[in-house]
Amino acid sequence: MHEWALAEAIVEAVCGYLSKRGVNRVASLKVAVGELQSVDEGILRFAVEELFKGRGVEVSSLVFEKEPAVFRCNSCGRTWRLEDLGIPEDAREAIHFIPEVFHVFTRCPHCGSQDLEIIQGRGVYIGSLEL
């Protein structure tokens, strides 16, 4: 349930943005949820909604968008999807907290390098915000 902490971060960032502009309503907020972190979207949405309520902020449209994870190997240049990397099940919990630790548990399927870059789909961020 550390999703609550991520929700707080989102709400804090949005409220910071709003208070600078002296408003307290958002027309549309898109939150990107990167596949690698395997965040529980239901919990995240619930927490974000609760926290906005507590702050007295009204969000007309709140959308969570899954972002597939894509990796590039800095050694051989090939790109990969999450399922290509065969990350062991029991490592997923650690990656859930700190996505970068995937480097420990995986290698490039082609050349064996751990020097993989995550191009998209890492974690949670604010995709767009319209007042």
Binding site: A5, L6, E8, A9, A13, E100, G123, I126, L129
Partner: protein, 239 residues
């Protein structure tokens, strides 16, 4: 937009002071100083935290005798640091199972933000940060995201290390330094060179050949001359 920067200060709201142990050179004793400092503060019954930010080579857990694969920071609306020896401890080693994390700077920067965004320290008199050597992503992030931070610079008397301290003094980070610890000093060492940096000297710690045996044993570590010297530095820092 990255949602993490603002929440970082929120997470440190109840932390009275943050002290980061830094050095341009590695192997000068940062990890031992940071860990012992946190342990010494806990001995004084102060609420204290220790955060290992040497992301690609964490080792505070070795000094504390914590087996990272056997312990997990509990989840509670975020993650809670692990309580050991009267202090609150957080390290990436809990998530890497103690293995190496080959990682470029951009990844280190992400780890920094994620760790600080999700860890709930609660009320602390002091949070001690152990850091990697050099002036890279972690040190720059600390300076950017933890406004009130004080740097404790560690150096040995070696020219290679003092030179690196002189260089630190000339960067924009120099103003953060609240004091210098000279570690592994040889007999008769006189801290003349430090004058040029303008930094305040906190303590000079000799080289103790028997210290190695105390790694992993905080009780023993706290009884050493090394720990007494750290206490001296703390007295100067906290007054």
């Amino acid at each position: 937009m990255d949602p993490r920067p603002l929440i970082i200060s929120e997470r440190l709201k109840e932390v009275k002071r943050v002290l980061a142990v830094v050095s341009g050179k590695g192997g000068v004793g940062k990890t031992l100083v940071a860990s012992t400092m946190a342990l010494a503060l806990a001995e004084r019954r102060m609420p204290v935290g220790l955060l290992d930010l040497d992301v690609t080579n964490p080792s505070c857990h070795v000094v504390l005798g914590v087996e990272p694969s056997k312990e997990t920071p509990p989840e509670d609306m975020g993650v809670l640091p692990v309580s050991v020896h009267g202090l609150k401890f957080m390290s990436l080693a809990f998530y890497t199972r103690g293995e190496a994390l080959p990682l470029r700077g951009a990844g280190v920067d992400d780890v920094f933000k994620e760790l600080l965004a999700i860890t709930r320290w609660g009320m602390l008199e002091a949070l001690i940060l152990d850091t990697p050597p050099g002036f890279g992503d972690v040190i720059l992030d600390i300076a950017n995201y933890i406004p009130g931070v004080g740097f404790i610079a560690v150096t040995t008397p070696s020219r290679l290390s003092v030179e690196s301290l002189r260089r630190l003094a000339k960067t924009h980070l120099g103003g953060r330094v609240v004091g210098v610890i000279v570690n592994m000093a040889w007999k008769g060492y006189i801290p003349e060179d430090l004058g040029k940096t303008g930094f305040k000297l906190l303590t000079i710690i000799p080289y103790y050949p028997d210290l190695e045996a105390c790694l992993g044993n905080p009780g023993m570590l706290l009884k050493t001359e090394f720990a007494k010297k750290i206490d001296e530095a703390l007295n100067l820092l906290l007054k």
